[in-house]
Symmetry: C2
Subunit: 159 residues, 2 copies
């Protein structure tokens, strides 16, 4: 992108093809994320899970009986933001709220059989979307990218 | 993160410390971006520019007389989403709308002197935020990360 727009405008300085933004990791992270996010939605379809709902269900399956507070913390979002996600998963019968023995104030999130089946199908579609979208990256490049992104994510402990 | 939450919950399976999400590039991109975005806001302060406004001003300075349509395309956002950003920059007297010779239907965006000064100060603060946030990454790691993110961004041409 950018280049196409530039070609249409005659009075622009084309001596450099990059702004200051191109050297910023934050800007490039955002732009790359937008590409992936748009392709995710396209791949999963209008009736497919959103990335947030998919992430929440994944963690509920990985950690059955997780509480909403724990799930919000794991996802790095506010507990208030999680409510709509859990409501959606419960409405679709992918999750149930269950009592927590010894603590009547909180409820645990338990995936249903239908939730597990929907998750398996969605995970397959998500992996196919990433395989296709990143087909021009080698396995080594993907591993390097994941390792560097996780290095940034180490800051999550501080946040 | 995650680990802290896990320690509080006794009935979780701790044999693996990762869900399926950890292998997905999209999920890691999002999580890393959130870390950077939160630190950006913290570094720039309540009255500082948002990342979007900063990006828009950067491109207006890099490409003076750019039109709103071109700017939206460059930023990868809808033209409608750009209006609020340009309005904010105009209200702060960082940008002016100017007539485009030969095309009375469109207006070009021209940075003011105050806009250039505000941009220079903000760019300095943004670079300091990235230097600090990524201080545990070597120059080579940062370059590798940027190159891999730009490889994903090549898809912008297709979108």
């Amino acid at each position: 992108m950018g280049r196409k727009a530039l070609q249409r405008s005659n009075d622009m300085d084309l001596s450099l093809d990059a702004s200051d933004l191109e050297d910023l990791i934050g800007y490039n992270l955002k732009r790359a994320y937008v590409i992936v996010q748009i392709d995710f939605r396209k791949a999963l379809g209008q009736d497919g899970m959103s990335a947030r709902v998919f992430s929440a269900l994944s963690l509920c399956i990985r950690y059955p009986n997780i509480t909403q507070s724990e799930l919000a913390r794991m996802m790095g979002i506010e507990r208030s933001g999680l409510v709509a996600i859990v409501d959606e998963l419960e409405a679709k019968k992918h999750l149930q709220r269950a009592p927590v023995p010894g603590d009547r104030r909180v409820q645990a999130l338990v995936p249903t059989e239908a939730g597990r089946a929907a998750y398996d199908a969605t995970l397959k579609a998500v992996r196919a979307h990433e395989d296709r979208l990143f087909e021009d990256m080698s396995a080594e490049e993907k591993e390097t990218l994941l390792a560097l992104l996780k290095k940034i994510r180490n800051r999550e402990e501080d946040a």
